[in-house]
Symmetry: C2
Subunit: 511 residues, 2 copies
C-alpha cells in the first residue's frame, strides 16, 4: 500500500526539511542566542508555590514549557504544573517533554480542553498517546530522538519559555542534584540542556537542603526560581526496578546469537564500548557479553545510556572502566552514580546530539536495539503499533544506531500473530542505512551495505540469511499475515523528526 | 590633579558604555549564538601538533584566541601556541587570556612585532604589563574582571575564534580534567566558559589517557581537537605553594581587626560563607576566623574562590560544608578537589558573572580584599602601580566586592613610602559603593552607606575612624607624600571594564 509522500509544509508544524540521509546534515550548526534575566545580589529565588513561579515567569498563552522524565512513571511534576496552568486559564500551551508516560494521563485532558495544543517528545506511551491518535491535539505531535530534542533546543527550533525541573534535591539558590532526597533518580541528563536555553527555569523539589546542594548536577547560574512541594513523585515508580533479563527460550536464543555477532564482528576487544536498552532481550545480550568479556579478560572503555543495574554490575566487576549516564533506570544505578566518580553524568546533548563537537554515541562500538517492525530496507519502526496507536518513539534509538559501529536489532520474528519483519514499516523511526544487522531466533540478516560484516559473520559460522528470507519466515510464524494496512490519507497527527531535525516520516489519522 | 573624562569612543576599542553604578546593568541579558562544527561519527579529533591544530581551525589574521591561567606561572601552552602562530606568519591576533603572568614574557615580543595587536585579561603582571605600559600594544589593553570576562564571552562582546585549553589530562575525544597527569592543576573553571562560546576548541595535553578521562571537567561535546605535547608546563610553578600566612606584626594586627569586624557584623553564624585572596594578610584573616568558628562551633556553608590549602584545612575540619573552586592555588587544593565531592568546581560564570541567574559571589557573606590604593570614595585600585605600570587588575576583586554582604579591604596604611589611602586612586578597579569597610593597622573606616555596619562595629568597640582620618594617617606614615601624580592626557593604553562591561576607568600613557 503506497503512502502519500511527506508534504513540504504541514499545517501546525511549518515548512518541512525532508530527510535525505542519516549524515547529510552534519557540519556547521548554530546554537541559539539565549535571553537571561540576570540576578541581583540579595534577591532570593524561593517562591511559595508552583502558581507563584508560573506568575513570576510571566507565562502566557501560546508559550512553550518543558519537562523531563527522570522520575519516569512516578513523576508528579508535569501533572502539578499543568493543573496550575489550567486553573490560571492559560491556553494554547506547547509542551516539550523529554518523554511522556502513562502517569501523565491528565495531560490528555488538557489536550482535549485546548489548554495544551502542541507536544514534542522523544517517547510517548499511555493515555496521551491515545489522545493524540484520536486527533485531539491541535498541532501535530512532534516526535524527536533524545539527541534530536537536545539539538532542537540548542538550535532554537524549540524555544522554551519556561523549563520546569523536577529536582530530587535543591538548595535555595537553585543548585540541583538527583542523588539526594526521597525522590532520588540519579543523573539529570535531559534538563541539563533545557536549563541552558530556556528563558526561565523553575526547579520544583521535595527536598530543600542547606546551601549548597553538593554534588551539583545543575548549577545555580541556570536556575531562576525554586519551589518546595510536599512530593515530586512516587519513589516506587521512579526507579521501578522492573528491568529484568528475559527468561523466554526464544529471547535467550536471540541474545546468544547477538553476542555471537558481536564477538564475530571483531569489536569485542579491550576498549570495547556498549549500550543497550532496558528490555529483557537487551539485558540478556548484556549478560552474555559479560560472560565472554570476563572469559577473554577484556576491559571495555564504557557502557552508556540509560544505566541499569546490569551495566553497573559489569562496571563494578571491572568489565568497563566507566559508565556514561543520561538517566538511571533503577536504584542500583542511582547508588552507583552517587558513589563512583567514573560513573559519569552526561547531558542529552553530550549523549546523542548530532550537532555538537562529538556525542558519546559516536564512540559506541555496539548498540543493541529493539524493534516493533523492521522492513526490507532495514528501516525500523518503534513509533507506531499495528493498531495505529503511538507505542513509544525513538528515544535514543536513532541516535545510537547512527553513532555505533555495530547497530544490531534484536527481535523475534513475530509477536501476537503480527510479523515483525515486513515489506515496509508502518512508520520509519530509524533509517535502515544506520542498522547493520537484524538478529532473530531463526537467523541473522546483515545490511547489504556491510559486506565486511557479512563476511566476518559467515566465517564465524553464524546463521546468515537475507532480510527477504527473514520476512518470509516472519510471515509464516505470524500465520501468513501481511504487513498491517497503513492508515491512508488522513490528517497528519504526528511528525517524526530524525535527529538532525529533518522529517523522516509522518503519522496520519485513519482516513 | 583632575583627570580627563573617559571619552565616548576609544580608538581601537570602540564605543564606550560608561559605568553608571555597580548594579545599574543587572536585568535582561543575552547570551550570544554559537557556531559549532558538528562531528561526524568515525572522525577522530587527535592532531599531531599545535601547528596542525591551528591550521585545522582555519585561524586567520585578525582572529581572537583565548587561554586560561590554571597553570599559572608554570604555563607553557600560551608560549607554544603563540610561537606557532608567529612562525605561520599570522598577524593582528587578539589574545583573550584569563590572566597573564611573568612566564608569558614571549607574548611581549609578539606584541612588539605586531603578531599580537589586542589583549583582554583579568590580571596582568610581568614583562607583558611593561610592554603595554610602553605603548607597544596597538589596541588598548582591555582589563576585565573574572566574572566580566565570562560575561563578555557569553554576551559575544568577545568572540573567540579558537580557544586553547591547557589540559593536564585528556582523552582522544576531548574529555578533559585537571586532576590527573604530571601537570595536575585542579579545576578548569575559566576555560569552561571559553569552550562553550568559541568557534573552535583545541585541547593541548601532556597526559593522553584511555577514553574516557573521568572525572570529566570539560566534556567532549565542547572540544574539536586534541594535541599531545611533551609538556604543558612546569609543575613546580603550576601550584607553587607560595601561599603563606603573613608573619609581620602589622599584617597580623590588621587580620585580627578584620576578624573582629566580621564577628561584630553579625555574619559569623551557622551558614557563614567566605572568600579571601591568597595574600599573606588575607590568609591571616582566614586563620583568625578559623579559630573563632571552631570556638563558637560554627559550620559555614561554603568558602569560595581560588582555593588554598588554608581553606581546605577549614573545610576538612568541618568549618565549611563545601568549597566552590574556580582554580586551585596549591597542591593541597588539587588533592582535596580530586578526593571530595563537596569540593565543587565552578565555572568563571557560575563564580562571578553578573549576567547569569545568580553567581556564587552573590551568596558570599564576607570577602577579604587587598588594595594598592583606596580613596576617599572607597574606590579601590589594584590595577595601576605608583610608577604607572599595570600591577595586576581586578581578577575577582570587583565581582566579590559587588556580591558579598561584607566586602572588607585589608591594607597597611603605607607601603614603601607610598600612602595607600589617598584622595583619588590612580585608577579605579572596584567602585567604592561596593566596599563596606577598610581595615588598617590604625583603625577601621566604614563606608558611610553602611550606617548599620558602623553602629554594629561601634557597639563592639572597634577602632573606628573616617576614611579622611585614615588618609591623613596614611600620608603621615608615608612621610607626607601626597597621591602620586596621575599620568595626564597621553594615549589610552588600557580600558578598565567593570564586570557588567561598562568602562569604569582608562589608563593613559605618560604624556
Amino acid at each position: 500500500m503506497t503512502q502519500p509522500p511527506v508534504p513540504d509544509f504541514i499545517e501546525g508544524y511549518g515548512p518541512v526539511k525532508h530527510f535525505t540521509g542519516a549524515f547529510a546534515h552534519i557540519g556547521l550548526a548554530t546554537r541559539a542566542a539565549v535571553k537571561v534575566c540576570s540576578a541581583r545580589p540579595g534577591i532570593g529565588k524561593v517562591l511559595p508555590s508552583i502558581r507563584a513561579a508560573i506568575r513570576a515567569c510571566g507565562l502566557r498563552d501560546g508559550a512553550t514549557i518543558s519537562f523531563h522524565h527522570h522520575l519516569r512513571n512516578g513523576d508528579d511534576v508535569l501533572r502539578a504544573v499543568m493543573a496550575e496552568i489550567a486553573s490560571l486559564g492559560l491556553r494554547d500551551i506547547r509542551v516539550a517533554a523529554s518523554s511522556v508516560f502513562p502517569v501523565h494521563a491528565p495531560l490528555a485532558g488538557h489536550i482535549e480542553s485546548g489548554v495544551v495544543t502542541g507536544l514534542a517528545t522523544a517517547y510517548l506511551s499511555g493515555p496521551v498517546a491515545e489522545a493524540v491518535a484520536r486527533g485531539f491535539l491541535q498541532r501535530p505531535l512532534v516526535m524527536q530522538t533524545h539527541g534530536g530534542r537536545a539539538r532542537a533546543i540548542e538550535a532554537g527550533d524549540i524555544h522554551i519559555d519556561v523549563a520546569f525541573v523536577a529536582a530530587p534535591t535543591a538548595d535555595i539558590y537553585g543548585n540541583l542534584n538527583g542523588v539526594g532526597g526521597k525522590s532520588a533518580c540519579g543523573t539529570l541528563g535531559y534538563p541539563m540542556v533545557d536549563v541552558k536555553y530556556a528563558d526561565r527555569v523553575v526547579a520544583i523539589t521535595d527536598c530543600l537542603v542547606p546551601y549548597p546542594a553538593c554534588p551539583i548536577d545543575i548549577t545555580q547560574d541556570d536556575v531562576d526560581f525554586v519551589v518546595e512541594v510536599p512530593s515530586i513523585g512516587d519513589p516506587r515508580q521512579i526507579v521501578s526496578g522492573t528491568t529484568r533479563v528475559t527468561d523466554k527460550p526464544e529471547g535467550l536464543k536471540i541474545a546468544a546469537t547477538a553476542a555471537d555477532v558481536v564477538e564475530a564482528s571483531g569489536l569485542l576487544v579491550d576498549g570495547f564500548s556498549f549500550q543497550t536498552g532496558a528490555g529483557g532481550v537487551s539485558l540478556a545480550v548484556a549478560a552474555c557479553l559479560r560472560e565472554r568479556m570476563a572469559a577473554k579478560r577484556i576491559t571495555g572503555s564504557f557502557a552508556a545510556g540509560g544505566i541499569t543495574g546490569t551495566l553497573v554490575e559489569m562496571f563494578e566487576a571491572g568489565l568497563f572502566r566507566s559508565l556514561f549516564n543520561v538517566q538511571c533506570f533503577d536504584l542500583k544505578a542511582v547508588e552507583s552514580y552517587r558513589r563512583d566518580a567514573a560513573h559519569q553524568a552526561m547531558s542529552a546533548s553530550m549523549y546523542a546530539n548530532p550537532h555538537n563537537r562529538g556525542a558519546v554515541v559516536n564512540l559506541l562500538d555496539v548498540m543493541i536495539l529493539g524493534a516493533a517492525e523492521v522492513d526490507l530496507d532495514f528501516n525500523v519502526n518503534v513509533t507506531l503499533g499495528s493498531s495505529g496507536v503511538i507505542i513509544g518513539g525513538s528515544g535514543g534509538h536513532s541516535d545510537t544506531a547512527a553513532g555505533a559501529k555495530l547497530a544490531l536489532v534484536t527481535t523475534q520474528l513475530a509477536a501476537r500473530h503480527h510479523p515483525k519483519i515486513v515489506d515496509c514499516v508502518a512508520s520509519v523511526t530509524t533509517p535502515g542505512e544506520t542498522i547493520d544487522a537484524v538478529v532473530t531466533e531463526e537467523g541473522v540478516a546483515v545490511n547489504p551495505r556491510r559486506a565486511d560484516l557479512r563476511d566476518r559473520l559467515a566465517s564465524a559460522g553464524l546463521p546468515l540469511c537475507t532480510i527477504e528470507e527473514l520476512r518470509s519466515k516472519s510471515q509464516r510464524r505470524a500465520g501468513g499475515d501481511p504487513s498491517p494496512p497503513r492508515a491512508g490519507g488522513g490528517r497528519i497527527v504526528a511528525v517524526v523528526e530524525y535527529r538532525d531535525g529533518t522529517v523522516i516520516d509522518v503519522v496520519r489519522a485513519s482516513a
